[in-house]
Symmetry: C2
Subunit: 423 residues, 2 copies
């Protein structure tokens, strides 16, 4: 048989111990901050029926990026490309007996068939936080944004490191429909062109819009919308979502979060399911200026399970872009190993004593590795150094006889005679 | 469109908050005990090329139980049915630069297409612990068995709750080949019949063996092997694995683990890859008397990646059977929610103050839920009770003006006026 590759599947990662320590340090901040808000952790199978995603995920993902297949019972299933449809399914299963608001979070791995690149892999982990059934949607939106800020602050980030841009799904629709009077079938294309506005020459931008049937007058109104930002909304309280965003910005200011958050009319979010406030968190670093994560309000998703509509707001934050952010700003670095003691064996006959001593040390809360075989002492000490262990217990016949152990601190070379209790 | 089901895929589980708390409590013991031995955590993608399993997993699993499919790049891949081939792949990738012994653990989810039943699901989680490249194989085997005992003791289990039965792959081969002189193509069938010995009538057992060409004399020898246990080995030091097991049992006795471990000639383990010591951990409870987990030595697995042979020993412990064990013996029960405070809102206008107060409490290390909307106070207190929160801060205009808060302890009904620092 051909030799097997030692590499992981394309676009995925193996997590070796140092990778795992970094990931765990990253996740532990998530657990701590999110739990401090009263969010409960959930989890679910990594495989779901494809129907769940056909109903509730964008066509691009289901058509081109989903990992789907038929199981041995001829069911069409998929490896989850995102967690939100699963969370909505679980809420629908339990929402009547669960006290509201429901605050749930999870850190699942999700799969998309993509061409791997910077910040884009086929498997990544994603913190998902969602609030369901809040009496006040505005309060839930506020809390979720507060949480998004606190999460990054949990890593030591400040308003110098990131900015949250928010908008409302109704605003763009109102501008394109009510203000510009564009037919609805043009909206998606025009929104895509707006997205390109900063990246192409003004003439090219004008030509694109003209080709889509947008007149010079309509374009001027669109420019006003994009340039005047919050002032545009304030002047048009009748515009759907406008006064909501004006109020939300004021409330965020009152909460002391004004420096973190801006209204940005260009924020749309790719997914089809958002119904209200939407936001994107951007890295402000000149070399990493891109979206870190985002989310918004999606009030219609749970309804797909035949239950009444339940209001919902949430976000998903990927580990790959977060790691780039944390490393770019040096907010989180590699994490050292945390093993305290190494028991070096001068003679294999003493092995039983070493394993017993290790057991006693562990009962006292110590972390302890035993050398599984007696090599030369120098070699064993080298192994302990490579394993980043601070202290070595040198176990010879004298130590076994007296129960007083030679303990060497590797950083200083200092050697002490200690009893079990003193180690 | 047809209404979507709220149920998870057949044979899998949703983890609601109470399930997740139990799972986390269960896993936290694993992390603590395994790390105290100096094991490093790893992880890997849940999808691997099918080739990896064709080379290194039993035919039954690959042929009948694996979740495999072609990806969009026409690669034949599978959702992992077990973790060991992946761990071997990762060791092969790194083993030259990694100080030995390598102690790695992981708690992956794994998938098998099975008919769901008690203790048998399509997705389950599994603690995997492996030791690679130990200078002394016997010391590594000893440490792994010590760890298996300590893991269950970590939940409060004792020798009254479980027993580890161990054997050696060479022993059975030696008995069937050298002692009974049976041709090798009969070994697997005879081993299966031995497994049925306790479950069928003696005559039926004799008839089965006879049909397989086992004479009455050979059967008597086989009975001796199964009945005499360790004495059979002691009488035949030339039998492969025999003296090793006799020594190992003595070393375990010296380690104070004698009560936990027995030699059992019937332990074989299904997998094809074991090469030395094998073991199964059994629940001793009369209603749950079955295998909890098992493992053994597999020295040839890493070699499939073209590297030199690396000695390896490990086990995999599934969460479903472990949960049954822990609940049967009442060693681990449902875990309560851990949210300390609930802020009830008397008026929605006070929301900003509530969110700010919550933020200050969280900065002081408290866990705090805010009522996202002002309902009647009684209803909010009910919600807090349902959410198992011990104390409620009642936020009205007086509280906002004075920064002195009414705090109600739900269990006693006691109400106090406290400042932020006192809460």
């Amino acid at each position: 048989m051909a030799q097997l590759s030692t590499q992981p599947y394309k676009g995925t990662r193996d997590f070796f111990p140092e990778d795992m320590r970094f990931r765990e340090a990253m996740f532990s901040v998530m657990h701590r901050v999110v739990r401090s808000y009263g969010f409960d952790q959930i989890d679910a199978p990594i495989v779901e029926p494809v129907d769940l995603y056909l109903a509730k995920t964008s066509e691009e993902i289901v058509g081109q990026q989903i990992y789907s297949f038929k199981d041995r019972g001829d069911r069409l299933v998929a490896i989850r490309p995102e967690m939100t449809p699963t969370v909505a399914r679980m809420v629908a299963q339990r929402f009547q007996q669960t006290p509201k608001p429901i605050r749930w979070y999870s850190i699942p791995n999700v799969w998309r068939y993509e061409q791997p690149g910077k910040g884009r892999l086929r498997e990544h982990w994603q913190l998902n936080c969602d609030i369901f059934g809040a009496a006040s949607e505005q309060l839930a939106d506020l809390e979720l944004l507060q949480l998004a800020v606190d999460l990054l602050r949990g890593y030591g980030a400040s308003d110098a490191h990131f900015k949250i841009y928010l908008s409302h799904r109704a605003i763009l629709n109102g501008v394109l429909g009510d203000e510009l009077q564009l037919p609805q079938d043009k909206w998606a294309n025009v929104a895509r062109m707006m997205d390109k506005r900063a990246k192409v020459k003004p003439e090219a931008y004008a030509a694109m819009l003209e080709a889509e049937g947008v007149s010079a007058g309509q374009r001027a109104n669109l420019d006003l919308f994009l340039n005047d930002k919050i002032d545009y909304l304030k002047a048009r309280p009748q515009l759907g979502g406008a006064s909501y965003i004006v109020e939300l910005m004021q409330a965020l200011e009152n909460l002391g979060l004004g420096n973190y958050i801006e209204y940005d009319p260009a924020v749309v979010r790719g997914f089809d399911y958002y119904t209200g406030m939407v936001f994107e968190v951007f890295d402000t670093h000149p070399e990493n200026r891109r979206s870190l994560f985002g989310g918004g309000r999606y009030n219609n998703l749970v309804g797909a399970f035949g239950k009444e509509t339940l209001n919902a707001v949430g976000f998903g934050m990927g580990d790959v872009t977060l790691e780039d952010f944390l490393r770019t700003h040096r907010l989180l670095n590699d994490q050292p190993r945390q093993v305290e003691l190494y028991i070096a064996l001068l003679d294999e006959k003493l092995a039983a004593h070493a394993l017993k001593l290790a057991s006693q040390l562990r009962q006292r809360g110590k972390t302890c590795e035993v050398s599984l075989g007696a090599a030369k002492l120098g070699k064993q000490i080298q192994e302990a150094e490579k394993k980043q262990i601070a202290r070595v217990i040198i176990l010879g016949e004298d130590e076994v006889a007296s129960s007083v152990y030679s303990v060497k601190t590797l950083a200083t070379g200092e050697q002490q005679k200690l009893t079990l209790e003193q180690i």
